[in-house]
Subunit: 129 residues, 2 copies
């Protein structure tokens, strides 16, 4: 499974999102993390495994601290993906608005040169992708 799928899938579960939310306020031991949930400790470990595999969380394997820590940089992948497509769509909207404005201009002052290409297929795939 690819990274993005793992990340999104990990965050699709409310319990796991809640864990992330609480970890964003500070590291916690597994016991502390598990406390509010009415489920087996093993279940909590399973959730942690999913978050860890997604890179959203790290657990210092060493002897001492035995705590869970949020890994902020894993959020960047998501962010990048989201912003990329959101921005593309928004740019497309702006471009579409421009086309519509042009069509309006054309309608009012009808046939004011007719020199520009006849691409009035609004909302179609722009070919400059």
């Amino acid at each position: 499974m690819d990274s993005l799928s793992r990340i999104f899938a990990a965050l699709a579960d409310p319990t796991r999102r809640d864990m992330i939310a609480r970890l964003s306020e500070g590291d916690a031991t597994v016991g502390q993390l598990a406390e509010p949930y009415r489920m087996t400790l093993q279940a909590v470990y399973k959730h942690l495994r999913v978050l860890e595999d997604a890179g959203l969380v790290s657990r210092p394997r060493g002897p001492q601290p035995r705590s869970v820590r949020l890994e902020v940089h894993a959020f960047d992948l998501m962010d990048t993906w989201i912003e990329l497509h959101r921005d593309r769509a928004e740019q497309r909207y702006r471009r579409l608005d421009a086309v519509i404005a042009e069509m309006r201009r054309d309608e009012h002052g009808q046939d004011h040169k007719n020199g520009h290409r006849g691409r009035h297929d609004a909302a179609g795939h722009p070919d400059d992708a």
Copy 2:
């Protein structure tokens, strides 16, 4: 299921993410959308249903266009959630850095007033949540 879970779950599938990616470059009919995938048309409709239920996509039910459109504002929920927790974690890091710096100052110039509160519980849950 809550909105965030639906959105994240919808984006956890590569096919669905690819659909979003392609829709970010322009609306498409279901047939056009389905073309690159080696799966039944019914399967594509199922994917679209998931995206639609998550609010990521809309399909003008009316007679005319019968096309699929990306709904950008659905991304905002995700964005808000992500940024909220990412920022909290990053602020926590900054605060932690400050604490560490202060501890260092204390170690070098030992006992230089001792007037500030003794909160040296580094990385513990800060109580100003």
